[in-house]
Symmetry: D2
Subunit: 304 residues, 4 copies
């Protein structure tokens, strides 16, 4: 694939894309973002880098950090993990308690909020200083000590996070949360508050395009088999109840956040991060999906 | 990939696989099958062919034919199609009316029964002799005039198909079925009754591994973009509420049938059909999934 | 209670009642009714009669006839009846298939459509000429040979009744329908088409106010114990998902129909029928409930 | 009704009743109860009293106190009350979050846990010292200063009450809880912990059999209209998803608790309390329902 060419084409297309949808506004820290922001960064497994727009500006990555939490939990507790959380698409809205109740406290997958809370519970069980150690894990892969939680965002989420509190209490009633609820919620709200730029995200997740090995540092973050499985989970569950639509239109494994960010992986080839704060009705970045659809359609390069 | 080698390894592994689960028995024609049958056939885009066991024996392909029905409907009525059926995983058991009612008669995807009924309704609207023309479409791609419906199976399905009748009536109450209910059901039960062997299936679906072009005849069955989209739908929706598990373990787009068959696609490389009649709790071939998991794990060759 | 006085008060109040809501219009025969019609008839167990407005005009009693169907089935097959249908409020909209699927084809109660279809199935099993014999049963209690089905209404219902067809097929898939689907649906659509006036309705149901004995003829229609149980079922399930609201506001057992009719019973005292075609959002007569609320509030005479 | 005679008959029948079901055991304080306990007390509006068995022994009345909480909230905040909680039967298990989510945080009725939590929230808003003032309200009607919370039970409930915490958090996410969650939960767990005997219960609730006026003290606890409405709500919603069965078999408004107690009202005639700790599958006292069914069947004296 001629990356130079397609990135140039994308640069030309971006200004023509409609910018629909609404910026997430349930906390003031997200609602105050400039809705016209747009960043994109593509990193190839051969370490070619292509950035566009606000690719260097940090934003709240929100649920994208659930992938990193899963990577770490997958390393720490492979066996019990899949007894406590599934790998199936949820089929319902990302915050739904309905399925959680019908399925007795076992979340459908690790990327819906309930599933990420179970992942956090595992991290709390396994790590002495979970907040600090998770941050070091992220910084280590990124090779960047500046990446950090945003305290204001974490506090804001906590003060409005009654639905997450409902879910973790429900799971605890079924025995699927082992630690103190407030400790787990604190980790959860913190990891959602991490701020990174598109460039940092693309480089952070490059190991999933390279069989688990970070091509920049040569570090094996995770085994090839696990890398494939993580991509499979992202493909099936990475976009809430729009996963099928994303696979149909874009055809890459990926994960979105309500901050307007998306990370997507082309195994063997590249990782790409986009950022555009307006969200569609399903809670995913409107322009982010459009530009990724342009990318894979124009180059006929979805994984399918 | 050294196909010779991996097929030889699979041949050695098959006898060691547990053969759990139950043969589908809601109609006598399926229940009477020898539960120990096992067939496998892999065809590469370069037309190398590898068969094992009962690869040449025909069996009831059941829901696998929903893929061919979708291919034909996708060609005939691209625009209206996706207003009438979604591309999202169902999140619930394949026969469920619950979601159909909540979502006002629009099925989640074309591979659950309700979705396939809508696809059949489109074929009835668009074709003068839908049963005959669908069969010719299948035979044409297969290059094989012997492929046929099984009248006994179709009749048996019809006489017990009250849940399908419930679903089509429910959808008609929402205006999402345009034709006479009995005509649509007749087409549906017939296409589920088609009998093919693993060899025939692998060759039939090879165009989905080759950007829509059948490598054997050179015929463009469908455009490259549609071929990718069909694979995406199979990846997300091809295994009922076990789609995530199949992606996690096997990592190939595919489709199963309650006759114990599975077709899977490795885009750019090969198609593979397996047949083993015992089904797991989710209604998919128990040994079929196991041998495909062995294939992609052993060769680290899932699409992810 | 001074019936004379309260009926006079009601006559004064009726013109002041708001007439909100919509006339049922899913079949032309119902949609064509004059929305301003209003009838009321109260019959005491001592055979005092008080009529107001259009009390003598026949209208489509619709679901009210489900009570008579249950009375007959209760006599014919007491034992099996309550294995096949429950006595609990549905908690969801009257046409819902959701609960029917979760509860494996056993309807919540005999007054939702699904439950009435099971009752009809019992009548078809037990009676040689179910349509004729049911009509004779109704006529016998009414002492009126003119009461009849309306063929046009029955045909109209049949041609649009896809949701009922969905439900009966779903129940048959669970084994809870024993007879041919079309035969049962034919009985069902016919009994919903019966036409009666408020006067005829009040007199028809008077036996439920008198421990099962029709005070006019002295005929024991049903035992005292069964009479109480039928009133209990009407109290809990007679107004779809507005049963609680009706108990709270009116406090009498009763049953409504989408034709705008309501029958209500004050055990030991009287039966009352009202008719006003506009329906509230729950499908019950808007003014009908208002005037009954006036009656029991003004006289502090609910059963509670 | 000859109370002397029927109570004598009941005394003879009790030893012959099967004692099925299980004692509630989710907290040790309930699980430790002698499963063979049986008490019954009937008080007529004319202040005749009939006790049997352990009628004088106090037990944990649990959800029965939700009726008293509703009585108090109904007095304090009639208007807003019914915007925040419905009067419809739940149709699902008493702890379900499903309906709560579908209906955006508005509980079906004040007797399911979620509804009682809203009632407690109202008490916290309206009362300066809600725990103390609620207790005084109960003691005042009972004319008995000894009635009290059981601290051990309240603490035990609190330490295992994750499902209640899930529900109140979910409702708060919809804006239907106005006060601090822990304060509301504390009141809720305390009022469920009240201990009373059958005699005390029957006398406490006698005002609901007498149009809101306590016949013993002459005190008007609540207006006649409200008294009828409270009875209606008990009839429709007092026994979780067994309300219909209770109306069918017993035919009295009432309320049960997981401690094995039941209070039932015959408006105009009597109140009756029974206690037998083994619960049926729906969470209601097994023998309690049986003896009440005997009472109303034997005397043909249900309210219907």
């Amino acid at each position: 694939m001629d990356y130079e060419k397609i990135v140039t084409e994308m640069a030309a297309v971006i200004p023509t894309l409609e910018n629909c949808g609404k910026v997430a506004s349930y906390i003031p820290e997200l609602g105050g973002i400039d809705a016209e922001k747009f960043g994109l960064h593509l990193t190839t497994v051969g370490n070619q880098n292509y950035g566009l727009g606000d690719a260097g500006e940090r934003f709240s990555i929100q649920s994208i950090s659930k992938v990193m939490a899963l990577v770490l939990a997958f390393e720490l507790e492979e066996e019990a993990l899949w007894q406590r959380v599934g790998v199936e698409p949820s089929g319902t809205h990302f915050n739904s308690l309905v399925q959680l109740e019908y399925e007795k406290g076992v979340p459908r997958n690790p990327f819906i909020n309930a599933g990420a809370l179970v992942v956090c519970d595992i991290l709390v069980s396994r790590l002495k200083q979970p907040k600090q150690q998770f941050l070091e894990f992220v910084r280590g892969i990124a090779g960047n000590q500046e990446i950090d939680y945003c305290q204001r965002v974490a506090e804001s989420e906590k003060s409005t996070g009654f639905k997450n509190a409902a879910m973790i209490n429900l799971m605890k009633s079924y025995g699927n949360i082992h630690n103190d609820i407030d400790t787990v919620l604190d980790l959860y709200f913190n990891l959602c508050s991490i701020e990174m730029s598109c460039r940092e995200l693309a480089q952070q997740f490059l190991f999933l395009a390279a069989n688990g090995v970070d091509p920049l540092s040569g570090r094996a973050v995770i085994s090839p088999g696990k890398s494939k499985r993580l991509n499979a989970i992202m493909q099936l569950c990475g976009f809430y109840d729009e996963a099928g639509e994303f696979a149909y239109r874009v055809g890459l494994p990926g994960k979105s956040g309500v901050g307007g960010g998306i990370i997507a992986i082309h195994p063997g080839n590249y990782s790409i991060a986009v950022w555009s704060p307006r969200l569609n009705a399903k809670g995913n970045s409107y322009r982010g999906i459009r530009i990724l659809e342009f990318l894979t359609t124009r180059t006929t390069s979805s994984i399918f």
